[in-house]
């Protein structure tokens, strides 16, 4: 099985016609349900539903509190290496961009870990570019061995791996996987990834499922908003999450709705995704999958992040650097420019001020 077959079933689905048909009654009917099906989800993503955002927000807020309480899990990304062989036209680390390439030594990884751990965080997400030569699985595994002495949960956001490689990293102490499809639109995907191993749409699409099969505890999917029409990518992200959760009920499936940010190379997103669009997406997904985590990164502004605390989000990054060695060696060119530069303590304070508890530790490595 593959989620690819599910996408194929919807290849002839007329989104525009569906959105034209959706009216206020359909939105109200979807909102009245306890369990939404995929068409209810699409209804809540529709332009018609955008007119009822406050009503949707109230329900999504209640559902989130019931499922997660007034809590927010905090984590931070750690960039291990920025070597990359891909040519993603929208990414600062792509092979043709001229920037100092670097890979942290294990001693440097430990130095970064110490600085981050002092903030109290226990969840770390490690990232690399795609280079099996410069940041091979064995290197990632060695880094994980160092990091698990400082953190109780180590997740990876690296190039797509084979199932056995996920198993290898899981046995080294990795418990979570984040991998974004960037866009579910196969044609747009081909244009945005003109060369390199990332051109393989299906291998990337099936990576989250391989992670589930490898026994990872949490798997997060998403699309990079701005690369294609957002409503469709939001819809397929939700379907992907639902597909995985049904087949792998013991894995915590979550999503992230990252939006394009300025970066080296200066690609301008083809599609605009407004704050309102982003909020609508998060709310609709919350009602579609009440139990799933939703992560909001520092790509978004402090003001927007503060407001979205009560809009279905369950996980936030804090104290972020997107450059390799950024916590100990000063900031260099990052993968993208972050928008919310606040420290972990600042974010914790903001959460407490809103009546939310920052959660530093939500897993115990076994």
């Amino acid at each position: 099985m593959s989620f690819y077959a599910e996408i194929a079933k919807l290849r002839t689905f007329d989104f525009e016609a569906f959105f034209e048909r959706v009216g206020e009654k359909d939105v109200a009917a979807a909102l009245a349900k306890d369990r939404l099906n995929y068409l209810d989800y699409l209804t809540l993503l529709s332009p018609a539903a955008a007119l009822h955002l406050e009503t949707i927000a109230q329900k999504a807020h209640q559902v989130t509190i019931r499922q997660f309480g007034r809590t927010m899990l905090l984590f931070t990304p750690l960039y291990l290496a920025n070597y990359c062989v891909n040519q993603c036209v929208y990414c600062g680390f792509q092979v043709h961009n001229r920037l100092a390439r670097k890979r942290l030594s294990l001693a440097e990884v430990e130095a970064e870990a110490k600085v981050i751990a002092q903030t109290g965080l226990k969840h770390i997400l490690v990232l690399t570019g795609e280079s099996r030569t410069d940041s091979p699985v064995a290197y990632i595994r060695d880094c994980v061995e160092v990091l698990k002495q400082y953190f109780t949960s180590v997740s990876i956001e690296v190039y797509p791996l084979e199932t056995e490689e996920y198993v290898e990293l899981a046995s080294a102490g990795v418990d979570g996987l984040t991998i974004y499809q960037e866009t579910y639109d196969e044609t747009a995907y081909a244009e945005l990834h003109p060369a390199g191993p990332k051109r393989n749409y299906r291998f990337r699409l099936d990576a989250p499922e391989r992670g589930c099969q490898a026994g990872l505890r949490t798997v997060s999917v998403g699309a990079l908003l701005g690369l294609s029409e957002w409503r469709r990518d939001a819809f397929f992200t939700g379907l992907h999450a639902d597909y995985l959760q049904r087949r792998y009920p013991d894995v915590e499936i979550s999503i992230s709705p990252p939006r394009m940010r300025p970066h080296l190379g200066g690609y301008q997103p083809r599609y605009q995704v407004t704050d309102k669009d982003l909020v609508q997406y998060v709310l609709a997904f919350r009602l579609f999958m009440p139990r799933s985590g939703i992560t909001l990164s520092t790509r978004e502004s402090a003001v927007l992040r503060d407001h979205m605390v009560k809009l279905g989000i369950t996980k936030m990054s804090a104290g972020v650097s997107t450059s390799v060695g950024g916590h100990t060696q000063g900031e260099t060119v990052g993968q993208f420019q972050i928008s919310d530069e606040r420290s972990v303590a600042d974010i914790a304070r903001m959460l407490y001020n809103q009546g939310y508890q920052p959660i530093y530790k939500d897993w115990q490595a076994l």
Binding site: I65, R66, Q67, F68, G69, R70, T71, G120, K122, T152, R217, Q245, R246, P249, D250, V251, E252, I253, R291, Y352, G355, Y356, Q357, P358, I359, Y360, K361, D362, W363, Q364, L366
Partner: protein, 257 residues
Amino acid sequence: MQDLLRLGGKELTSRLFLGTGKYSSNKVIPAVVAASGAQVVTVALRRVDTAFEEENIVSYIPKDCILMPNTSGARNAEEAIRIARLARAAGCGNWVKIEVISDNRYLLPDNIETIKATEVLAAEGFVVLPYTSPDLMVAKRLASAGAAAVMPLGAPIGSNRGLKTKELIRIMIEEISLPIIVDAGIGRPSEAAEAMEMGAAAVLVNTAVATADDPVAMARAFGMAVAAGRTAYLAGPSAVRSFAEASSPLTGFLRDE
């Protein structure tokens, strides 16, 4: 004579157990526990961080309470066993609430894995309180595996739906000699009182208190409801009748001869 709940070698006067997840701040927990009168407080080991005193949930649990770590996050017996052992090693005592959930959609417990974990942990000297879907045969297996109590769900965790499984829990109360503690799903004090009137030994509440607008007041309400339900149970409520009793009975003319 004082009505005591005997569990794991302890004698408890309160029959309300509290969970500690979902609060807007750990700082509210001491006041919540005090208002509820609870003597047993459960905490997820996954959230315990002994290295971070200020944010460590255990720092906020009153010292005179029994700490009952739970195995939240365990997907099978093996993980639950490891979490229980880690909890004991971390100084959290020898009580453990076993929670094995392999279904993230409904958060329903895996009874079979729960039985396996109970067998191992009871043999290791833990006071084992397994969280289960209400099933009489499973409860019997848990009893023979050495569980100290059985904790059936009233409704799925966090759902606040109340005693949806009432009839199954009633049968467990009648047939199982261990304390039956209703855990999960109770959304209102009246539902907690109902469980106690039925003969439940105790109830465990988390979401309904933690997510109330005023958790301290709600904790107090639950404490009173549990005590009221227990008192009513001990008072022996008169039987519920399906029909009103006629004041001019049809058989009133019959006389003892």
